[in-house]
């Protein structure tokens, strides 16, 4: 593979992927008899054109930041954690238990406790696959994905049989008590005089997500643990040579990864739904993979990629709401973006490399 300059790898490749994805999407919109330009502008306006749109875009983005960071941390250790879905679901269980059964005097304390619970539950859910990988050699991709199903079933059981309020037909917990409600972004911004649409789901968790980005940056590039984790990810024989314990580093890395995925629950469970419902993660765990890939496993890249996917989600929803473009097509568009920016990353890169690197060779 040709060596690309860093700026091209970070900016040009994702951009080209995005353009390809959108071109193909617009072609499909056109094929179904709609005006692609209209659809595109509706998507952009719907996601970014109003504070109402931003309120949703940022809410989705918050989810994706957490799951993206989770995948990225594991990536740095060469571990592919695709269990974000299940870890986030278990994080939700942790949040629900903390919010339902402990009376909190104020949301700030509740937030700290819920963050700890979400992280702990996510980390513990990642611990089992991590242990199986490190000690028994069971492949982490297989085990984490299977643990997604186990998590879903477990949550189903707990919600239906244990946490469902008496008389309710809904597999969900009761509403969290008032002191455990988080302020929304609208409330917070309005309080300081910035107009922002009320009633949108973006909430204070966004700040936690930004802090998580900073935390991951320092963890990966400035701490000994990060150093060892990256070394382990680059070369396992080298890690053994350096005296890095492969079992320990695998387990610690996966628990941090799981904790980050679990943290997503404070956004969707505590911040938005204010109760735990079935299937609350809604695929954000998987979007995290695309976000981490597109963001090059760097917190800053993940921030931007999460925003993009957040906008895509919100824009797609708007499209479904205001046009007769079928909902399925909106999902196709989202899938194309994931395909081109995530999975087909290397294909796009080799094309970019050919265009960028060839002329230089001729000069030499």
């Amino acid at each position: 593979m040709e060596q690309l300059p860093k700026w091209a790898d970070l900016i040009v490749v994702p951009l080209v992927g995005l353009i390809l994805a959108f071109s193909l999407s617009m072609l499909m919109v056109f094929a179904t008899g709609h005006d692609p330009m209209d659809a595109l502008s509706l998507m952009v306006k719907g996601a970014l054109g109003s504070t109402y749109g931003w309120g949703y875009t940022l809410y989705y983005a918050t989810n994706f930041i957490f799951t993206g960071l989770a995948v990225a941390v594991a990536f740095h250790a060469s571990l592919f954690n695709i269990g974000g879905e299940g870890q986030a679901a278990l994080g939700g269980l942790g949040v629900a238990l903390v919010c339902l059964f402990i009376p909190w005097p104020h949301w700030t304390i509740a937030l700290v406790a819920a963050t700890a619970a979400a992280g702990l539950f996510g980390a513990l859910w990642a611990l089992i696959p991590a242990y199986l990988q490190a000690k028994r050699g069971s492949h982490i991709v297989i085990t984490t994905i299977m643990f997604n199903f186990i998590a879903a079933s477990l949550l189903n059981y707990v919600l239906v049989n244990k946490l469902r309020p008496k008389g309710s037909m809904d597999p969900a917990t009761a509403k969290f008590p008032e002191p455990a409600h988080l302020p929304s972004l609208g409330d917070m911004l309005n309080a300081v005089g910035i107009p922002f649409a009320k009633g949108t789901p973006a909430n204070v968790t966004l700040v936690v997500a930004l802090l998580a980005c900073v935390f991951v940056y320092y963890l990966i590039w400035r701490t000994r643990l990060g150093y060892q984790l990256r070394a382990f990810g680059e070369s396992q024989p080298a890690a053994v040579y350096a005296g890095i314990n492969p079992v320990k580093i695998t387990i610690i890395t996966m628990m941090i990864s799981g904790a980050l995925a679990g943290l997503m629950a404070i956004n969707n469970v505590m911040g938005e739904a204010e109760r735990l419902i079935l299937g609350s993660v809604e695929g954000a765990g998987f979007i995290g993979i695309a976000v981490a890939l597109m963001g090059r496993s760097h917190p800053l890249g993940i921030l931007f990629a999460a925003l993009l996917f957040g906008a895509l989600y919100q824009g797609g929803a708007e499209l479904g709401l205001w046009t007769s473009i079928p909902r399925e097509l909106v999902i196709v568009i989202q899938a194309l973006v994931i395909l081109f920016t995530g999975a087909l990353d290397n294909m796009v890169r080799s094309i970019v490399a050919k265009v960028l690197v060839r002329p230089k060779r001729a000069e030499a």
Binding site: R222, Y227, S235, A238, V240, Y241, G243, R361
Partner: protein
Amino acid sequence: MTTAPAIELKGISKAFGPVQANKDISIRVMPGTIHGIIGENGAGKSTLMSILYGFYKADKGEIYISGKKVSIPDSQAAIAAGIGMVFQHFKLVENFTVLENVILGAEDGALLAPSLRKARKDLAALAAEYELNVDPDALIQDIGVGMQQRVEILKALYRQADILILDEPTGVLTPAEADQLFRILHRLKDEGKTIILITHKLREIMEATDTVSVMRRGEMTATVKTSETSPQALAELMVGRKVLLRVDKTPAQPGEKVLEVENLKVVDSKGVVRIKGVSFDVRAGEILGIAGVAGNGQSELLEVLGGMRNGTGTIRVNGQDLDLTGKFSDARSRRKRGIAHVPEDRQREGLIMDFKAWENTAFGYDDDEAYQTGLLMNNAAIREDAEGKIERFDVRPANADLEAKSFSGGNQQKLVLAREIERDPDLLLVGQPTRGVDIGAIEFIHQQIVALRDKGKAILLVSVELEEILSLSDRIAVIFDGQLMGERLPAETHEKELGLMMAGMTGEDT
């Protein structure tokens, strides 16, 4: 009478980005000769041969085979033109038989039986003609390296190759096997085949070739008759300056025993016994060289001592037992006991290739107090340390921000050596210190190892290069099949004796 050269290259140039790997290279190789190509790592030998075998396309230049201009876009075309290649790393299917490997890619039809029958006959004929005897029904995984190499040669001959290119063919062979290979090559030459031998070993060039071309930094610096040159002259052509081929060192002044190994056994993860009860010791101020063909347990020995693998038996350092299986058997604990380790494979183990040079300076020592500030690592301190090491060990380019993979083999090794030697260890483990390292850097690396010895440190050297063992060691132990075959003093032995011991004959048999 003029015969056309078997192979002629005219003005071959090839660039990878800004790097000019081959610059205007021309050679003529006459039929029925052995032509050597010698040069340091990165001189462009392999690129040139890859062009000839169709892996790369030359930017400029022409290739003539027997006087006819040919173009070689891929390896199929190279085979059609009568070129056969024996790679340094064999391309054989381990669980196929010799026969199946020979026809692989050259089957005549959908059914295998006719091809196999034909190949069996041809193989018998080839064996008779060139004394290339191999059991056609043996599985590759069951036969030795020397035999595997013969299979590679047979593969080429089966495809009617007239020109045979061998890339560093003796890297994995014992001296005796190498001699056998050269006998085969001479036989092939006598039958009119043309052979191109790529190597960095001067001795092989002098013994085996008729003419030799020297490459340096992508250019062909000279082509001479082997009989009219000397190893010293070739070395100078390769490096571009005078080099010391012998190591300059005073007799050792051995002191106390630093390392004592008693009845060490190692079983690998597949249950194969790799080391079968080995005992030896290394004293302060001496270099013990372990000679042996790769794969006879010397790697495992270094790994146990370096804390990368478990073993049983007793190992004492400065009189105190090392933990061989428990909590303190890891590499970090070994470092704390004053053992530094320059691993055999610097690219896989010794360095993180995608880490910058300065990050690699802390590799294995990242728990050093000097590298911490509170919870974070003190990157400024590591960088400063790295810059000092780069300067003192003459690493080029002297840029701590380059990734390890951007350095040449020799400079990567200098980075590892600087990191390990400057820890001032009591015992230094060194594996293949100059594998893939250019001659200029070899001299420097050898000097550093001897200098550490002269400071009164114990050094255990493992190398498959017999010359290196002979010139660097104060004592030599030979390992074969996980056992030590005996010890010799370098002044009282020679390559032949060591070669026999490396092939499994004990000191008494020789």
